[in-house]
Structures are given as C-alpha cells and as structure tokens.
Subunit: 517 residues, 2 copies
C-alpha cells in the first residue's frame, strides 16, 4: 500500500523538525498506512438510464425550484453574473449551467499533511478515513455519557494519530463544550496541528473562524505553501431542502479563496429534509451539491471541492433518524455513481449507528454503512470511527472497535493477491490429501502476514474466554484505548512554529470576550 | 417480490389440506416473502485473467494431485469408467474431464415446499436464506450456553417458520443431543415437516439416514412427485484437503439417486485445511467441488447440485477459526464468480461470527459476512441467522437479530426504485426550500412502506431509551423470540400424512437399539 502520488513537502519547517520527523517516521513506518488505494470494483447500483433520470430531475429541480442562498448577497451577485435567474434569495439555474460551472473543480487533489508521508490524495481510487465529527457528547464504559471537553477532544486526536488505519485527524472529533463557543475552534485546530501530524479539518461555524483556521495553516505550513497546496479540508453542510446559509457560504468562501478544500454536503434525514424515497433524496442531494459546488467554483475556479452526501432515513413511527438501513446503503451507492459522473471526489458513509451503547445494534449498523462506503468508491470517509447515538456521542470504545473494522477494509480493498506465492501451488505438493497445512513451508513463510489480525475479536474457546473474565467487545476495547492513550507520544513540531501558533491563539483569544454562540 | 417461477404443486395432499393451506396463506400473505430476487449487480472481484488462473490451477491440482474417495468403491468404479486415473483411492482427472462431467448439472432448480407458495428457485438471481446448521450447543440470555435438545431444535424451526425473512427451514438448526445419534434424524426431519411448511434439508450423517429422509419425503409429497421434483436440499461437506469420505458420498448418492439436491461444500479453515492464502484456498475449493459434483453427476446426470463454499480463516496466533474477516469476504466474492462460470447455483456465507455472546463482535463479523454474501450473487445461504461461537452454538437472541438483518437484505437486493412515485417530483413542488417533508402528501402516501422497519434497533432519544430500561440489542431480541414462540401456530398438515410419518418413525425407531454414533 505505497503512496501512489508524489506529494510536495511543506516549505517552512526547519531542519530540526525534518530530522526529528524522519526518526519518528522510521519508528512508525511499519504501522503507518497513509491511505487506501482501492483495487476492488465499485458497485454500480443504478443503470445508465437511472443515472440519467436522476441527473435530469436534479437539473429540473434547479431550473423550476432553484436553491435559496440566504443572507449572503455576494453569492447572489456571483450567480447573477454567471447567468442564473435570481428572485429575492432564490437562485434558479438554466438547464446545464450548474454542471458547466462545476466543471472547473479538480477531479482529484492532494491534502498535504505536515508530515509529508501522511499527505493524502483525495479522489480517484484513493480512500481516506477520518474520525467522527460534531458530537456534543462523549461516551465511555467508565463514565457513561457526558458533555465533551477539550480533554476528550485531545484524546480522540491522539487515538486517531496512534492508529495505523486512521488516515486523517478529522475536525470536531467531539464538541469541547467546556470552552467558549467563539474561541474553541482555536484550541481544536491547534490540537490537530500539535498532537498529530496527519491531515485535518478546519472550523466552519463562522467565516471568521474559517479565516483563523487558514491563518494558523499559514503559520504551520508557510503562506507560500498554501497558495499552491491544499492543507485543510472542511465540512460545508446544506440546510436541506435547498437552502445554503451565510455561515456555511462564508466559511466555504474563506477556504476556497485560500485554495483550501471544502466538502459540499447535504446532510439529509430522508422523509423530513427530502422526499421519503431514495430516488427523490438523490435528486435533491445532487441539486444541492451542484449549486454549492458552483458557488465555490465561482469564488475561485479550480478550488478543491468534494461531492459530499450524508443520508439517514427517518423512523416513520418516531421521527428519529435511523442508520445502517438498506435505504441509506442504496443512497450511498447511488451517490457514488453520481459523483464519479460529475468527476468530483466523493465523501459519504462512515461507521454510523443510532445505538446509545457500543452493542450489537451499533456494530450491525456501522458495518452496514462502512461496507457500502467502500464499494461505493468513496474517497473521503468522515465518521469512520467513534460515531454513536446518531452522532450525538463520540464513543471511546466504539472508536477502537471501528478502527479494527477500518483495518479490515485495508485488506478487503486490496482484492485477491494472485502472485505466485499466493497461488501456493507448492503447498499442494507438500501437503497430501487429508493432510494439514499448518506446518508446511508455505504456511510457515506466510503466516505472519497472511491474515488480518483483529485487536478486538476474541476467537478463543469458550473455556479460555470464560477464564479471561467473559469480556465483551467493548470491554476489550476499553483496555485498548487506555493503552493507546498511555503509550501516546506527540509527533515533533518545530518549537518556533509551535510558539507562533500559541502566540496567534493567545492574541486572538484576548481580542474578544467569550460568547456562547 | 413476486415468485418468478411457476412451481408445481405436490400431488398427494388432499382437498382438506389444500383448503386449510389457502386459509393460512391468506392470513400470512402480507408477511410471507418466499425468496429474494436479486436486482443489484454482483461484485466481480477477480478479473477474467484471475479467474482463468484459478481455474487452470484447480485443473492442474485435479490432474497432478487428484482427490481421495475413501471407503467408497462405487465412486472409484464410476470415475474409472468416466476416464479418470485411479491409484488406490486417489482419483486423478485428465485436464477438462471434471468440468465436462459437471456440465450435466442444472443451472437452476426449484426446491418444492409442501406449501407451494413457499417453494424456492435455487440459482440465477434468486437468494434463499436458511438458518444456522450443526451447532451442538444453544445459547440464550436466560440460561446461557448448554447442549441443544429436540425442544431447542423445534423452537428454532418455529422461529424460522414465523419469520417473513427466512425462506427455508434449514437442517440441523441445532444438534438435539438428548436423542440417540442413530435416531435423532427422524425427529429432526419430522419437526421440519410438521412444524413448518417451508423447504428443508435432510440428514447426511449416514447413507441410511439420507434414505430415511427420502422415504419421509415420499410420504409427505408423494413418491411420484419426488421423481420429477426436488423437495430436499442437503449438505455434503468435503474432508478438506481433497478427501471425500464414505458417509458423505453415500448420503450424496442416496439423495442424487432420488433426484434430491445436495450442496457440495468444502468446509475450509484456511491455513489448516487449505493454503494460507485466498487464491490457494479458492483453487483447492474449486478442485474439491469439481470432483464432488462430478461424482453426483455420474450417479445421476442432471441431479440438482449446489456449488458450496465455506471459508473461515485461522488465527495464526491461536489456531482458532475466525469470521467476518476480509480474507473470508474476498473468498466469498471470488467463489461466487467461479460458481457462475461453472453454471451452478451457489451457496456460501451467512451471518457468521466467532463471538461467544451476541455482542458487537458478533454483529460486526456477521454483517461483514452477510453483505458480501448478497453481493457475491449467492443463491443459498446457510447459517443466515443464529450462528454464534464459530458454529458451536445456536443463539436465540442472535437468531432474531440476524432475522432483522435479513429483512434489510430484502430491501437492499431490490435496488433503487425509479418509479414516478419514487422520483417524488410533486413533493418538491409542494415543499418549498427550507420546508419540511414530513407532512407533505407524498410522504403521507408513502410513509407506511417507505423504509424498512427494524424490530431490533432502538432509535429513540437517550432519555426515552433510559426510561425504557436501557436495554441492549440482545435484551430486546430476547423479548422478541419469546413473543414469536408464544404466538407460533403450526401450519396445517393432512392428518393422514401426519399419521403415516409418525408410523414410519415409530417403526424405524423400534427396528434398532439406540447408539451414540
């Protein structure tokens, strides 16, 4: 699983940083897998006819109904200039225009990490896993469910850093509710920069906070480096149905103007925020994405952007969101096809579930989301680990249980090895019919690397399992995350850069009073 | 999900039985789904080149090493006659011969059930779920793990009957250890015949017991009906690597001679019973299947047969079998391709796991087996529900948790509905941007059937979940299976047939002393 791409190195870090990094790299090389290169085919669930139908309906939606771009006059001006029909804050697209505007977006881009070995290509056959995002609560077996804090936030950043199967540090791995709303983004972005050397996401709760993220990226990577490199990928959600608001548009503009990537994602609970059908939901999502990406491309043609979808179904009994459902899986597969036809990198899926605890429900639902995510040809997977309770809680135990599943996806995505060694013909000559392969030369030569080793699964006899305390999967996971945190060592960072970052944060915090919004 | 095939009705049942059946059918029609017609594409994980390589290696294996056919001279005579090279009990196949012998097997057949509405086509795009098979132990939350009894056996038959998502009654749903080994098959087959009207499997532990199964089928369906119809599908396992033994060959012959179906299945723990690689394991499995199916076709050309695989990986640390692994998933996909190229119905997968309890490990592993099973184009899925502890225990709670997953596979397999109603364009005209779809006419017209309703998942708020006792998924499942058993009603059976079956069993039991083998 080598890096398929040449990734430019950041320019500002000094020799000391590079040397230290090299040492770190050598130490962790065997465990470090920067991203997946998918070698298995995608699942094409919609026929050409079906795809054309949904694309045509999305165009019709943009033409007849259009999208709202609220409290953001600049968007209206840009769309008017581009040839859209503007009525109030409603933007209607003549058929084909949105698709044309989207065409300047790159098919693939690289998000550089401060450790160049951890830079990730986003698009094509690459697959990048990022942690859970946005949960106000955290959950662990010892203390149950509680509001997240900056300590929890740092813990999840450390766990993502420590795992060979998590490629990305993510963004709001939990909401640090103990910090003031208007300042917490500084501590969050700093945690990603300082405690990890994997790529990360920026703040989107206010355009100013997006600009702070960009400013901190300039300190970390160098201002010149940012002009021609993407170092930050951030999450821009639509207010479905068919509304883009000023916080999201302003943040998207701040990032796009600085050549930083955004994930344009309708976050849809189907049945409430879209029609109660997969086809209707895909139609609406495609329309919202076309409008959102068109805006980004009008801000800066060529700015990196990801076609994002997040589809949950609604329980028609209780109105609660549901996860791991077959309808959500179908939406995942279908959206992947629409993204590929549009020529954009694709984000969807993850390890989603509605369960309040890391039980069998959580696991069934997560696996029923993650496997479709892989075969949908997804390029960027938010919520790949730790998501629980419909996204309300980041779970420590589920985080490491999901990591184990992500490890398996690495093997699955490689497909079947057909090398001479894997064909194993000599083993058949060595082991007679009725014999046993365990001791044969081929097995001895391959057993170390032959099969993925789960950290979570207990495969022992029931007697041994009982003797070891009858632990269930979350109880084993509880021990693992504690060990990972205990063994965590921060990656080195040039002290001058660290000081500059801390100075920026201190000045920014001092410049305004704390607020709760 | 209508029946795609016209299925002949059994001939022997009287008018009273038919009338009663019609009443039953009308009562349960809404819940009854006889089988899945897969409308989603298969995952083609191996390229044409890879498939040809594995097929060529399998041919070479049959030519150079061959298969053992032990303690069964009739097989050696048949193979000699067919042109094989026989040395002792070793049968070597000149290149291409096994494939030629296999060609008389049907691409698809129908297994008739005594309720014709529950007959199942096996092959093509159809997908049939059958319960866990062969576990000596059972497990539930109330009593933990214990040896299975005939009461447990009957309970699992009832649960399979009661579920709209389980198409088949299966075979040894658990081992009824409280009955003598040489007689328990009579009670098992009778339980399937009396307590269910879904299709079922027969005994394979001794050729005489296979013949008893066929004799009981003749009583139930009528001897004439059996001559031109398959009413029983039974499991024939290879002794991997590359050995077929007399119990399996004798049972296979008994069924094939009576035109009844067998599933020719290498049961492989990769690394012990096959080389420690997916490619090597698929090569061996294909060779074993070619040899086994060739034998069946020599017994009776045209006898229905299923290409079966069961691949578990071995923990290279402990030697324990592991499930839900990426290597097993790759083997599932690859075997499906090999079966399709051979033109045979395909059996693999299920809801497999190694966990000792119905926890997150059980669920992750089961989902990571079941979803590949669907997309591998599998036609017959043994162990679709209830499998736990590597097949050592049939779990009551896991049975109903898995049923829920099988329900979801029904929806997933249908693909995306592109009807005018599903396109939902009128909903967009009804609900303005920023509005809410819950109350709109399209949602109101569709909400009852729009999304699959899980029986297991709790999607409520954490507050409500806590108020309801903080139950985990197995605890909810515990209530469900008890309710299913409490509400169970046996399907009607012509009393004359029932009496004849009971008479056959009584005479058979009286004819020999109890034995423990």
């Amino acid at each position: 699983m080598a890096i398929d791409e040449t990734v430019p190195a950041p320019s500002r870090e000094g020799r000391r940083g590079r040397d230290a990094r090299r040492t770190q790299r050598l130490q962790s090389r065997s465990a470090s897998i920067p991203f997946i290169t998918r070698k298995v085919p995608t699942t094409e669930i919609l026929s050409e006819e079906g795809l054309v139908l949904i694309e045509s309906n999305a165009e019709r939606l943009l033409e007849e109904i259009g999208c709202e771009f609220r409290d953001y006059p600049r968007a209206l001006a840009l769309f008017k200039e581009a040839g859209c029909d503007i009525t109030g804050t409603r933007v209607r697209f003549p058929r084909g225009l949105a698709r044309k505007l989207v065409a300047t977006a790159p098919r693939q881009f690289t998000q550089a990490a401060r450790n160049p070995e951890r830079s990730v290509p986003i698009g094509g056959d690459s697959l990048v896993f990022a942690p859970v995002y946005g949960s106000p609560f955290v959950h662990d077996l010892d203390h149950g469910r509680r509001y997240g804090t900056i300590e929890d936030f740092r813990n999840f950043v450390k766990l993502a850093y420590a795992s060979p199967f998590m490629h990305h540090s993510g963004g709001t791995v939990c909401e640090p509710v103990d910090l003031p709303v208007n300042k917490r983004h500084l501590d969050m972005v700093y945690a990603h920069m300082r405690l990890s050397d994997k790529p990360f996401m920026g703040s989107v709760t206010h355009p100013e906070r997006a600009k702070d993220t960009v400013a901190m990226c300039r300190i970390l990577f160098g201002a010149d480096f940012l002009e021609s490199n993407t170092v930050c990928t951030s999450l821009i959600n639509a207010n479905s149905p068919l509304v883009w608001d000023s916080a999201m548009l302003g943040s998207a503009e701040a990032y796009a103007a600085a050549n930083q990537a955004v994930i344009i994602t309708p976050f849809i609970l189907s049945g409430a925020m879209s029609p109660v059908s997969v086809a209707g939901t895909l139609t609406q999502a495609l329309a919202e994405i076309l409008a959102g990406v068109a805006f980004v491309q009008l801000v800066r043609p060529g700015a990196p952007v990801i076609f994002g979808t997040f589809v949950s179904t609604l329980s028609m009994q209780s109105g609660a969101p549901t996860f791991g459902t077959p309808e959500a899986a179908l939406a995942i597969y279908g959206a992947g096809q629409l993204a590929r036809r549009l020529g954009l990198p694709f984000r969807t899926g993850g390890s989603l579930c509605a369960s309040k605890i890391p039980d069998a429900q959580a696991a069934y639902e997560s696996a029923q989301t993650l496997l479709p995510t892989l075969f949908a040809g997804t390029n960027f997977v938010l919520h790949a680990a730790g998501w629980m309770e419909g996204g309300l809680a980041s779970s420590y135990e589920k985080f490491v249980m999901d990591l184990d599943q992500l490890g398996m996806m690495h093997v699955l995505a490689r497909g079947i090895d057909l090398s001479e060694n894997a064909q194993a013909f000599e083993a058949f000559h060595e082991v007679a019919p009725g014999g046993h392969f365990l001791g044969c030369a081929h097995t001895q030569a391959n057993f170390e690397s032959a099969f993925f080793r789960s950290q979570i699964a207990d495969n022992n006899s029931v007697e041994q399992w009982e003797a070891e305390g009858r632990l269930d999967a979350p109880q084993r996971a509880n021990k693992i995350w504690k060990k990972m945190l205990a063994e965590y060592e921060a990656p080195p960072l040039d002290p001058a850069i660290d000081e500059a970052l801390q100075d920026f944060i201190a000045r920014k915090k001092a410049s305004m009073p704390d607020t709760t919004h």
